[in-house]
Symmetry: C2
Subunit: 446 residues, 2 copies
């Protein structure tokens, strides 16, 4: 220890682990994708909802299960126990409970926003991340389930994917696995956990896992037969119908699926994009009817979101006891995938044209030109340090990714024109002032 006083150590500015800044280039992509999601949700008649970041702890606790330890919680200035929003479903249940009398049912809402989980950060997993949910509360109609599938289809096609499918199954099919295999219901979880790995470890692997956990070989084979059908939806459903003829609940579930596929087709989902997938195993605790999951086979993308019908949950979470169905789009994963695959097209600057200020010129000429461009719908900025020479202004525009620079010196002003420089090609053209915005729109869309 030294007696000399150290200067106070100035901490390096940093971002907490699991949290992120979104710089403009990333924000542009996020805005593009969330804008597309909003547009799709609204085309299907879903209305926007937002809820607070902090909730009274009793709204959250007891409703998350074993992951409740991931809840960010603290005591606020008034001694209240509060928690940060963990998902968008618990707030939906609370809103439905609080506004029971003034919400028109069915209540179709979408909600896009951050949620917080004190999870271990890893690649593609964050402590602050966005969820984008669309749900319908207050109807048992299979049309609502089919809308979920149709929305996924619109989202995946809208993002530019071509090799995707929406896999569809039914809770009743999962519940029928044990009785169909002649096993007690207590084996259901074992069976479902095993078939969930069909994609990864194949039928032999699944059979091995089931047998390791004490499922008799013959029963394991029956389960694999049931979940292994592939082909057109009609054919798969017919084959399953035959096998499950003795289980009425399963029959009703298969009827739901048949109608769901009919409705999805009427909602514009192309042939082959919504597929019955009897091995799709989503939360038995949660879902009560049709379940779905997006699947993009190429490049190990996997699932970009899932959903389904959850007729018990809104009541269990403190809402009114109302049936519900919905989907969730995994925005963070979707963005990672789009970036990796070069599908995100919005990485350039917001600014479409930089209006140069010639050294020693009166800046008002450039400001007036920028104002005309803005009135014409062009996102324009002016050079903010007029001492920069023209070459420096070109360099600034290039570094920022601004595609065009406009110059209107005394010659151009006398001729009532401006010079448009395309930075990528260094080509310059003189354009009549009145045509500038239209010309730029054409160049930008070309």
């Amino acid at each position: 220890m030294s007696n000399e006083q150290q200067p106070p150590k100035r901490p390096n500015p940093r971002v907490l682990s699991g949290f992120r800044d979104f710089l403009p280039a990333q924000m542009r992509v996020r805005q593009q994708v969330t804008g597309m999601l909003r547009d799709i949700f609204e085309r299907f008649g879903y209305e926007p909802l937002d809820t607070p970041t902090l909730e009274a702890i009793e709204v959250l606790q007891g409703k998350i299960g074993q992951d409740e330890k991931l809840l960010y919680r603290f005591t606020d200035h008034g001694g209240r126990e509060v928690g940060m929003r963990y998902d968008l479903t618990i707030p939906l249940a609370r809103v439905v409970a609080m506004h029971a009398n003034d919400l028109v049912l069915p209540f179709k809402r979408y909600h896009m926003g951050p949620v917080w989980r004190a999870d271990r950060p890893q690649r593609g997993r964050f402590r602050e991340f966005w969820q984008c949910d669309a749900d319908v509360v207050g109807t048992k109609s299979v049309i609502a389930d089919a809308e979920g599938v149709a929305i996924y289809n619109a989202v995946l096609a809208g993002c530019g994917f071509t090799d995707y499918a929406i896999r569809v199954n039914h809770r009743a099919v999962l519940a029928a696995l044990a009785p169909y295999a002649g096993l007690p219901d207590t084996d259901a979880v074992t069976l479902i956990r095993a078939i969930d790995k069909l994609d990864k470890i194949g039928p032999e692997g699944v059979k091995g896992e089931m047998m390791e956990r004490g499922i008799p070989e013959r029963a394991a084979e029956r389960v694999l037969e049931l979940v292994g059908f592939t082909g057109a939806n009609d054919a798969v459903l017919a084959q399953m119908n035959g096998l499950l003829a003795d289980i009425p609940a399963a029959q009703a579930g298969l009827d739901d699926l048949a109608r769901l596929f009919d409705y999805a087709a009427a909602l514009g989902v192309p042939e082959g994009k919504a597929l019955v997938f009897p091995a799709l195993a989503r939360g038995l605790d949660y879902y009560t009817g049709p379940v779905f999951e997006t699947y993009v086979p190429e490049g190990g993308v996997g699932s970009l979101g899932g959903g389904g019908r959850y007729d018990q949950l809104i009541g269990a979470l403190g809402g009114r006891d109302l049936p519900a169905t919905g989907i969730s789009v995994g925005l963070e994963r979707l963005l990672v995938v789009m970036e990796e695959r070069g599908m995100a097209g919005a990485t350039e600057s917001v600014t479409q044209a930089l209006v140069a200020i010639l050294p020693n010129d009166d800046p008002r000429h450039a400001l007036a030109l920028a104002t005309e461009l803005r009135a014409g719908g062009i996102r324009a900025e002016v050079t903010l340090d007029p001492k920069r020479n023209l070459m420096q202004q070109f360099t600034y525009a290039e570094r920022k990714g601004i595609p065009y620079v406009l110059i209107a010196g005394s010659d151009e002003r006398a001729a009532n024109t401006a010079t448009v420089r395309t930075l990528a090609t260094r080509a310059q053209q003189q354009i009549p002032r009145a045509d500038l915005a239209a010309t730029l729109h054409r160049l930008l869309n070309g």
Copy 2:
């Protein structure tokens, strides 16, 4: 105390005091206004930025002043002291510090999002509220200050205000009050606090307050003379110039203002909407150059936001030592005012047309019609409970504020048409199927 066990009391679902749900009708207005702000910011070439909700406490503390007690702070699962975002300026300084080498300067960014303060909730003041900031970091150009004024003008005009003004002053004018009145600089704060009340208590009130605080009458009168000029900007600036001829810093400030008004005019700010207002007193600690504040006299609206140049702050907050200027739009207050004055026009449903399902009809006909409308850019929903009769479906649409109901029974389908019912008038017309989307767009825009 009774031995009988009470059933566990189920807490009423509730929202924490100072926090709010935004139901669809409110969200629609918020989206409309934030969408307009985004559009305006981007037209001026400001790029989007977002930062985390939680920051390491050392990023926040020591930078807020006496209101630091309003910071929501807690210890996270890893034992880190963290705080919730208090404003959007501290994160900007941190981003500038962390990305010093890859940001292109000047860095023009806008940031719209919630901030959190454990303040006493009251009318129009919340613990979670949005700020909408646009700032430029890395330039001393007065053009950047003028852009702030031009953005305010675009925002206020865009919101439908006509009776607004953007009041403009300069830090150097405020700093000149004491020397001009022959007083020591230690009196500056007293003078500034007093003139800040000119609107409320008038010149006599201000004079009284100054004298109560020990300012000699003659000095108080000199201050009031200086800040009391009204009229055209040129005339006011000329008169102030005359009075402050002996104070070079004030002269430089008045020069800045003259250029600022010239540039604002070139940026499309109409005559009379940007006004020199020498009594405008904004934070002496914070601002270093031009300062501005919006002012809407009608109906006691007051200010909807302010801003100015703060050349010392980014460095003081831990960023690089860079000049900066910017504005902040008070979204919550703006929305309250627009609602009170009936200026918010987006309160109807997202859904533009409900496609009815006739009882006992195959829902696929309605689903296919809705799909055609969506492809034509209409936000359409279908009735989700096909057992409802037509009158019930009309009632549902009316309660939700959906303006049109479409019906395509077997007659319409045979004629390749659909019936469009306008709920407000109960008028019905049969429209060829191919013209439906165009007809609805025309009706919606009429």
